[in-house]
């Protein structure tokens, strides 16, 4: 058990000492996670709203597709993306393989179904009278959607948190398309995997603690947001 205590001591020393490499990894992780979450939610939330509110042919199949995508292994997402972005792949010309953009793209693919499926569930949970009320008062489709979204705001905030949580903790895709290059594409999760493999348990644990703190901060932010809301 000594190695665990030693690891924790090292973790706090690194955190308090402001290690440059650790700071770089944290900043890159945040950049990738925030970018991917924003893009995934920008498309996923309207998609979820559409699925929840618009009857159309094939709607059930679309729901099944989105729900299946929720369980898609991230490493397979990374593998497919690797094929697309590799030099011989159809998107090879973009030159994104082993860049932070590739990691963000993989994270978008992972977070999009989460945002769509969970927001659809959140919108379906809103009292249908809210939508009817907005419509009968002459609201446009956008204003009606906004009224419904306001009603589901806590659930939608939780959707964003869940998407962010998945993205920041994701490793399979990031490892495949990012390559875990020091100072370039090394994120918290890929760094933890690497340092653990190298036997540098202290550093790995320090990064793990930072990951937990980031997750905690996001949840606190959500709690604050919920506390400010009124019925």
């Amino acid at each position: 058990m000594d190695f665990l205590g030693e690891g924790l001591r090292r973790a706090f020393a690194l955190l308090l000492g402001g290690d440059a490499e650790v700071s770089g990894v944290v900043l890159l992780t945040l950049k990738v996670a925030v970018t991917a979450t924003l893009i995934a939610c920008a498309f996923g939330l309207p998609l979820g709203f559409f699925l929840a509110t618009r009857p159309f042919w094939g709607r059930r199949a679309a729901f099944t597709l989105v729900n299946t995508a929720l369980a898609f292994p991230t490493v397979v997402t990374g593998l497919l993306l690797f094929g697309l972005l590799s030099r011989r792949g159809p998107l090879g010309g973009v030159g994104w393989l082993y860049t932070w953009q590739a990691i963000a793209l993989g994270d978008v693919c992972i977070a999009l179904p989460i945002a769509a499926a969970l927001s659809a569930a959140a919108v379906q949970g809103v009292d249908p009278r809210i939508r009817r009320t907005a419509q009968t008062l002459g609201a446009s489709a956008w204003r009606t959607a906004w009224a419904v979204a306001r009603e589901a705001r806590f659930a939608l905030a939780a959707v964003i948190t869940a998407a962010f949580g998945h993205v920041i903790a994701e490793i399979g895709s990031a490892m495949m398309v990012g390559g875990n290059i020091r100072g370039s594409t090394r994120t918290l999760t890929t760094a933890i995997a690497l340092y653990t493999g190298q036997g540098d348990f202290g550093l790995a644990l320090a990064l793990g603690v930072i990951l937990l703190v980031l997750a905690l901060l996001v949840n606190i932010a959500l709690q604050v947001l919920q506390g400010q809301g009124h019925a």
């Binding site: 009278r129 009320t133 907005a134 419509q135 008062l137 002459g138 446009s140 204003r143 009224a147 019925a231």
Partner: protein, 338 residues
């Protein structure tokens, strides 16, 4: 003119509304009455363009605005002419002020104008003290009044009200109806309200229509009974149990049906009369109401409640008062079955 034409509306495979035509002319004051599940709320939602009919169409000034062969999707412009207040209305996020102003802001009105109209309509509905409250701080009756204020604020041509005073006490109901009267005196406004209270319907509406099992009743809305018609009977004469009495009716139908006895076809007397009427029931007067000049609605308990309409003069001659013993009689042929 808002109208439903050839509408058959289904939920899953079940037909919940079946109307050849239902029209609300400009400025009309219509009351829809009928038991729970008769299709009143569905009818109002179709009229409010919140649902598209499975078959048939909704027309506004002769133009199809929902459904029909072209499967028209209701647009915002058409919806802005018709507003529905649901039986259990819900307030949107924000204060009562935000709620009343919602439809006005949706129409792109300037803030000052919105505030002016909010104050006006709130005063008319007596909800000014509630303006800064949120929905969880209101009673059901207050929510209902705010919902009506919110609907009136957008000045629709047709206002649809689903049981508008179901959660209101007598005073609140009076305020509400007074506000509706005032609104109608200010501008042309057609109102169609659904109610299960006949007295309210007669008091407030020019035209009372009954809905049963999704169909318009061919007779006035009193004395409607859901029955099971027996297979057996002497020819087409069937004896149908309704509550504790048996009503004789002429019909070739069997199975589930609605049985209606027009109040004007019921003969009221103090003693049984020797007549051809196959139905004669003793009972006591429970209520007398003068809903139209010269006509008295006599409600009597004869095992079930039956309503008969007599003239003022007949009521006076028979010395009818609540508690008076009476005999109600009507012919088997007078009973409508649908």
């Amino acid at each position: 003119m808002l109208e439903l034409v050839g509408v058959r509306h289904r939920y899953a495979a079940r037909v919940v509304l079946d109307l050849d035509r239902f029209a609300i002319p400009p400025g009309a004051l219509i009351a829809m009455v009928g038991p729970n599940g008769s299709g009143k709320s569905t009818l109002l939602r179709l009229l409010a363009l919140l649902e598209r009919p499975s078959e048939g169409e909704v027309r506004l000034d002769g133009k199809a605005v929902s459904g029909g062969p072209a499967h028209v999707r209701p647009g915002t412009a058409a919806r802005r002419r018709v507003t529905l207040v649901e039986q259990r209305p819900i307030l949107l996020q924000g204060t009562v002020r935000d709620n009343i102003g919602f439809g006005l802001r949706a129409r792109g009105m300037r803030r000052a104008e919105v505030n002016r109209l909010i104050e006006q309509v709130a005063a008319r509905l007596g909800v000014t003290p509630l303006l800064e409250r949120r929905r969880h701080e209101l009673s059901e009756g207050e929510v209902q009044r705010v919902a009506v204020a919110r609907a009136l604020a957008v000045e629709p041509q047709v206002l649809l009200l689903d049981e508008p005073v179901s959660s209101a006490d007598r005073a609140a109901a009076q305020t509400l109806y007074a506000a509706l009267r005032e609104e109608r005196s200010r501008r042309p406004l057609a109102i169609c309200l659904a109610s299960h209270q006949l007295e309210d319907a007669y008091r407030w509406a020019d035209d009372v229509r009954a809905l049963a099992e999704g169909k318009l009743s061919p007779v006035t809305p009193e004395n409607l009974f859901r029955v099971e018609l027996p297979q057996t009977g002497a020819g087409d004469l069937k004896h149908v149990r309704v509550g504790t009495i048996e009503i004789a009716a002429m019909t070739d139908k069997t199975g589930p049906a609605i049985l209606a006895v027009p109040p004007t076809d019921i003969l009221v007397s103090r003693e049984p009369l020797a007549s051809s009427a196959r139905n004669a029931f003793r009972g006591r007067v429970t209520r007398l109401a003068r809903q139209r000049p010269g006509a008295v609605h006599v409600t009597a308990d004869v095992g079930v409640e039956l309503v008969a309409v007599v003239t003022e003069e007949a009521a006076r001659d028979l010395q009818l008062t609540p508690g008076s013993p009476v005999v109600l009689a009507f012919k088997a042929n007078a009973v409508r079955v649908f």
